[in-house]
Symmetry: C2
Amino acid sequence: MTTGGTVSEVSEGISVLAHSVLANVANKWALLVIDTLGTETLRFGQVKSRVTGISHKMLAQTLRNLERDGIVDRTAYATVPPRVEYRLTEAGRELQRTVHGICHWTRSHLDHIETARRRFDAADA
Amino acid sequence: MTTGGTVSEVSEGISVLAHSVLANVANKWALLVIDTLGTETLRFGQVKSRVTGISHKMLAQTLRNLERDGIVDRTAYATVPPRVEYRLTEAGRELQRTVHGICHWTRSHLDHIETARRRFDAADA
DNA sequence: CAGGATCCCGTACGATACTG
DNA sequence: CAGTATCGTACGGGATCCTG
């Protein structure tokens, strides 16, 4: 590293944090979980059944990361069997609006993308 | 598998595509590249220097995936040295608006998140 | 300069099993 | 039911070298 200035150190520190946040937020499972939660309060199992294809492990991990970043709120009831509810925080709901935009864009462009892929794959053949 | 109906086969086929699209779009580098392109037309090297921390390989890979999905447009000029320009397609610009929302949310919530993380990490200690 | 090919390590992720 | 721990495999992603 040839930088060595305090300014660049600070700005790099910020970008490191930003990158780690993006790594948590900008991945398939996190997006789907955030979009699924929406304005609802759901139990672990409910989220799992609504997010198609997510594994038990990945859901737990994703929820923990989102909780850690203050995006989802976790409430555990000390009952038997245990009951744990998840909901988006205020910041989480702000994020959810733009996240929903991506999910919506994806769904509405599926056929567009499929043909684009076919053209691309045929081109370099 | 106990499903076996044509309906579920079709819906699963759709979700498989959706998941693969999300896997391309919903990752750190793709988001940053899309947000960086914005409304501009940039050369490979320009994108690379603007997306902090991306490696040569990941940029090439990300741009190829985005091109394949019809999100970015690639124009190569047969000059020496070669000159390749990237810009968002129409669909890509639609996506860019919501992607920008995520990047903006991340940037404006950095300190909020940092404190949330500290509280979380301190709690389970 | 753009970008593919190869090597190699670390991590993500699924499956499974165990605890409260 | 919710969550953690362990294991094994497969993929992500960086470094490096090579081509048009």
